[in-house]
């Protein structure tokens, strides 16, 4: 019997549930969370996740610093955020409780690994008396479960060491919540079988413990009822999978390379939270992907520039401190007008800042962080799945216009997974790299490496190795058309204007702003990047209450959409929520000389639906 058997206990139907798992970094919390998330998605729920890593690799067991969290929102409707606060909190030790209780809703279900609430652990978590016993948890539905003992009981006779037994206990917890929410356990069982293929005893042990957890829920009288969250109905039809932002970014770029008929070059230096892009690409060599783990971020982008000159789809990726290092070379890419995608997975700053936390505070850096007038297109993904499309678009534009393009994501998007409707490869647009690959195309005229396409202002991307197309480029100002070095005053002025015009010209192909709500009204909530989900959810709630609130999201930060200026004028108030100190607001005010309201919480955490609803209410006429 698998753990998918139906429960005999009464089942309450819920529209949506937010569950948060928390424990020591060694407790397998991220794995537990992902598996529950995958099972929920398979069951047809819409899902959104938020992994909350500790900054340390492995802080000493039991400490607050070592607590790892994973929050999952699953629902029978279209949802956009991992949820503000949890309906269910599962804690593996006192530190996990101390660090996470603030996320649990009043009267929420609290499942605690009671075994671990002993003096030493309590002390490390900063507790005097055990909170399980001092009545301080009276506002919650507390379920105390001796996970370690129960796991141990289940594994009698397996001949496992205490340490090995301890490592299985997360499957007990997983089994229990699977029972609680009537999830089908087959997927977990398959995963256990795959993972422990070479260790049959551990495979059996984990299967046993997983079932034991399920059975415990079904059989003990502790739980009076279980819950079910039916499959979502308002989700667009299609084939779905779960995807995290970093993987989606990599796949979007591989898809673009494929559609352009180019190989892909990825130059990078590991950095949290961008490293998984490198890891993903490193496993895709059969798609013509070459990865270069450089000695630093400067070498990474410079190698990518070399590969771009060598006609590959060149990409470099990093996080904020790495962008700072790359900025000189980004200027070189601007001057040489080569296609290049620069991915910035933003994290908390300034300086080393909060490496494992999310933030949106690199917008001005990527727009302006270079010497001289050095304009560059900038796009931002709004969610994990959207990172695929945005990355594809960034590559398309880079190739079409021969420009370096910045793609912004952030820590929350990079690591948070969400269901993603898988695109049909054939339906993705073809990208025409349009290489100048034959001297005959010059029609006997001279080769002019900076001759511009009338429409795009792009210069030719010359196929290296072609006889007769030898040419030289570099970082010194160039003569228009010939590309030779030029110190001519008027030419420099013209080239500065041309480089700007080329980026500005892209605006012509940006689709009109997509609005959720009326095209005019009291408040326009304008987002970019990861606050998208929470903002749209808050707006929908208020719209349901009849308020004249509209939401729009910017994928394009530079150039700005042509219709944006007019749109802003249609609303009494424009509110821009950002996880920074108001960077897009600065850009918009500079662009339109308009007063714009801002909402900012810069705490390394995603913005919540509740705070955004309040922020909107604040600017709505009373």
């Amino acid at each position: 019997m698998t753990a998918s058997a139906t429960s005999a206990k009464p089942r309450e139907v819920r529209d949506s549930v937010v569950i948060r798992f928390a424990g020591d970094s060694g407790d397998g919390i991220q794995l537990t969370g992902s598996q529950f998330s995958a099972a929920s998605a398979l069951a047809g729920n819409d899902t959104a996740t938020f992994p909350d890593f500790p900054a340390e690799i492995r802080a000493p067991t039991g400490t607050l610093a070592g607590v790892s969290g994973f929050q999952l929102h699953f629902a029978s409707r279209d949802i956009l955020t991992p949820g503000d606060r949890a309906d269910v909190l599962v804690v593996m030790n006192p530190a996990a409780l101390a660090a996470n209780l603030k996320w649990l809703k009043p009267n929420g279900i609290l499942i605690a690994n009671a075994d671990s609430f002993q003096a030493k652990n309590l002390k490390m978590a900063g507790y005097g008396e055990s909170p399980l016993e001092d009545g301080s948890l009276a506002d919650y539905q507390l379920f105390q479960i001796d996970l370690s003992r129960l796991t141990n009981d289940a594994l009698q006779g397996f001949g496992l060491s205490a340490k090995e037994v301890e490592r299985c206990k997360n499957y007990f917890a997983l089994g229990l919540v699977f029972w609680l929410f009537a999830r089908n356990g087959e997927m977990v069982e398959d995963e256990i079988r795959r993972k422990f293929a070479s260790k049959p005893v551990m495979m059996e042990a984990n299967l046993k413990v997983f079932h034991a957890g399920w059975d415990y829920g079904e059989n003990t009288e502790l739980f009076a009822l279980s819950y079910s969250v039916p499959a979502a109905r308002d989700i667009a039809p299609g084939t779905y999978r779960s995807i995290a932002g970093n993987e989606a970014t990599a796949l979007g770029l591989v898809a673009a390379a494929h559609k352009a008929g180019l190989d892909l070059f990825y130059g990078s230096y590991p950095i949290t939270p961008a490293s998984d892009i490198l890891h993903t690409f490193a496993g895709l060599k059969e798609y013509g992907v070459r990865t270069f783990q450089a000695e630093d971020e400067i070498a990474a982008i410079c190698a990518a520039i070399g590969a771009a000159y060598g006609n590959q789809l060149a990409v470099t990726g990093t996080s904020g401190p790495g962008i700072a290092l790359k900025s000189e070379a980004m200027g070189l890419a601007v001057m040489t007008e080569l296609p290049l995608v620069i991915v910035n997975v933003q994290r908390g700053g300034p300086s080393t800042g909060l490496p494992t936390k999310t933030e949106q505070a690199d917008l001005l850096q990527v727009l302006y962080g270079r010497n001289g007038e050095s304009p560059m297109p900038v796009l931002a993904a709004r969610s994990a799945g959207d990172a695929f499309d945005t990355a594809f678009e960034a590559a398309r534009v880079a190739i079409k216009y021969r420009v370096p393009v910045v793609l912004l994501t952030d820590g929350a998007i990079a690591n948070g997974a969400e269901p993603w409707r898988i695109p049909d490869v054939d339906s993705l647009p073809t990208i025409e790299p349009n290489l100048l690959d034959d001297a005959a195309k010059l029609d006997g005229g001279p080769l002019l490496p900076y001759l511009r396409d009338v429409e795009t202002l792009a210069r030719p991307w010359i196929k290296l190795g072609t006889p007769g197309l030898e040419h030289r480029i570099g970082g010194i100002e160039k003569w228009d058309k010939t590309g030779h070095i030029s110190y001519d005053p008027q030419n420099h002025h013209n080239m500065v204007k041309l480089r700007q015009a080329k980026v500005d010209a892209i605006a012509a192909e940006i689709p009109p702003m997509h609005l959720e709500g009326a095209p005019e009204g009291d408040v326009l909530v304008l987002t970019w990047g990861s606050p998208y989900g929470a903002a749209l959810t808050a707006v929908r709630e208020l719209q349901a209450q009849g308020r004249a609130v509209t939401h729009a999201n910017l994928r394009w930060l530079n150039p700005l959409p042509l219709d944006l200026g007019a749109l802003l004028l249609k609303f009494r108030t424009v509110l821009v929520p950002e996880i920074n100190n108001g960077q897009l607001v600065k850009v918009l005010r500079a662009a339109y000389a308009l007063d714009i309201q801002q909402y900012n919480r810069i705490s390394g955490q995603p913005l919540s639906v509740v705070e955004l609803r309040d922020a909107i209410l604040n600017v709505l006429p009373h």
């Binding site: 995958a38 998605a41 398979l42 047809g44 989700i235 667009a236 039809p237 084939t239 779905y240 999978r241 796949l251 591989v254 898809a255 494929h258 070059f265 895709l284 060599k285 059969e286 798609y287 013509g288 992907v289 070459r290 270069f292 450089a294 000695e295 630093d296 400067i298 070498a299 410079c302 190698a303 990518a304 520039i305 070399g306 590969a307 771009a308 000159y309 060598g310 006609n311 590959q312 060149a314 000189e328 070379a329 200027g331 070189l332 409707r421 898988i422 695109p423 490869v425 290296l464 190795g465 072609t466 006889p467 197309l469 030898e470 040419h471 030289r472 480029i473 570099g474 970082g475 030779h484």
Partner: protein
């Protein structure tokens, strides 16, 4: 890999129509001419070659070479060239760099290039000064050197570029002098033929800011006595009368006079450029004026795995063994259907 053509190439096939803008009398002119001659002789046509440089007087090199070319930013030529070579192993890629460009700001890329053994040919123009910024001391300037930025004399102990390169696992190390056309031609030809990173240090005169820095080695008067031309498999002999040699005394090279104190050619150190053990190259890298004649020619030339070839081999192998299927990749391991 690039292939030599049948059509005979001439040095001028490698020259562009750009005005050459070095100071009159600069050593760079001779180097440019030597490279153009060497490439013509090598026979790979200009379109199969790329010349990549950083920033500095010497780094203007690409503008004068009728190959593909890229004048990048200060110190970063090895990185740009690495990306290009990995992407385009079919091109022969040359890097032109100065002592400041490669050993100061670009030091990190320089050592990583050597350890990776990317198939690049690196011309290091060593004039012991920052030329383009008008004469500050460089990482190869001698201790005590007075320049604009060191009016009381520099207190920075210099690198010996060849020692650093040995320490960084360099597989091909050679040295020549701007005015020594013959040796330059030989080492350039060998560098072109080497598979892996071929580093050629060229002692170059900056007649404006460091005039005569190498006179003790380059002038006809001194060259025979104060340099030694390394020839693989041959005993190390030098001197205007070819009567001096280098003998190894345990770990210590010493200058001996052939014919004196019973020393014969047979006692001399026989140069082995292909020794897998880099110790000999290290010893050569430390033979300095005035205690020793300074070695020119090929200090070291050994074969070891080449980075760009390995990267491309992995790609080819994966392509051969795991069929690319983009739709399958997008689908991932587990999917579900809605609607």
């Amino acid at each position: 890999m690039t292939l030599a053509t049948d059509i005979a190439l001439k040095p001028k096939d490698f020259a562009t129509d750009q005005d050459v803008r070095w100071c009159p009398g600069c050593g760079d002119y001779a180097i440019l001419a030597a490279v153009q001659r060497a490439l013509a002789k090598q026979g790979i046509p200009p379109h199969q070659i790329a010349t990549i440089a950083g920033i500095g007087c010497s780094s203007r090199f690409p503008y004068y070479m009728a190959t593909y070319g890229f004048h990048t930013i200060h110190g970063r030529a090895p990185a740009v060239a690495t990306g290009l070579k990995v992407a385009r192993p079919d091109l022969q890629v040359w890097v032109a760099t100065g002592d400041g460009d490669s050993l100061s700001i670009g030091g990190n890329h320089f050592i990583h290039l050597l350890r990776r053994n990317v198939d690049l040919k690196v011309l290091l123009f060593n004039n012991r000064i920052y030329g383009l910024t008008k004469g500050q001391y460089s990482p190869t300037s001698e201790l005590g050197k007075k320049t604009k930025s060191s009016p009381q004399g520099s207190v920075d102990n210099p690198f010996l570029p060849m020692s650093l390169a040995v320490g960084a696992e360099g597989s091909f190390l050679a040295r020549s002098i701007d005015v020594d056309a013959k040796t330059l031609a030989d080492v350039l030809a060998a560098a072109g033929a080497h598979h892996g990173t071929a580093l050629v240090e060229i002692l170059q005169n900056c007649n404006i800011f460091n005039d005569g820095a190498w006179d003790h080695l380059s002038s006809k008067e001194f060259r025979a006595d104060q340099t030694i031309l390394l020839e693989h498999g041959k005993p190390m002999i030098f001197g205007a009368n070819r009567d001096k040699g280098i003998r190894l005394n345990g770990l210590r090279p010493e200058v001996v006079k052939i014919g004196e104190n019973g020393v014969t050619e047979a006692d001399l150190w026989v140069h082995d450029a292909h020794d897998e053990d880099p110790t000999r190259a290290f010893l050569l890298s430390r033979m300095e004026y005035p205690l020793f004649p300074v070695p020119v020619g090929i200090l070291r030339s050994v074969q070891r795995p080449v980075y760009d070839a390995l990267v491309n081999a992995q790609v080819d192998e994966q392509k051969a063994t795991r069929k690319a299927n983009l739709q399958g990749l997008l689908n991932g391991r587990s999917t579900w259907v809605v609607g």
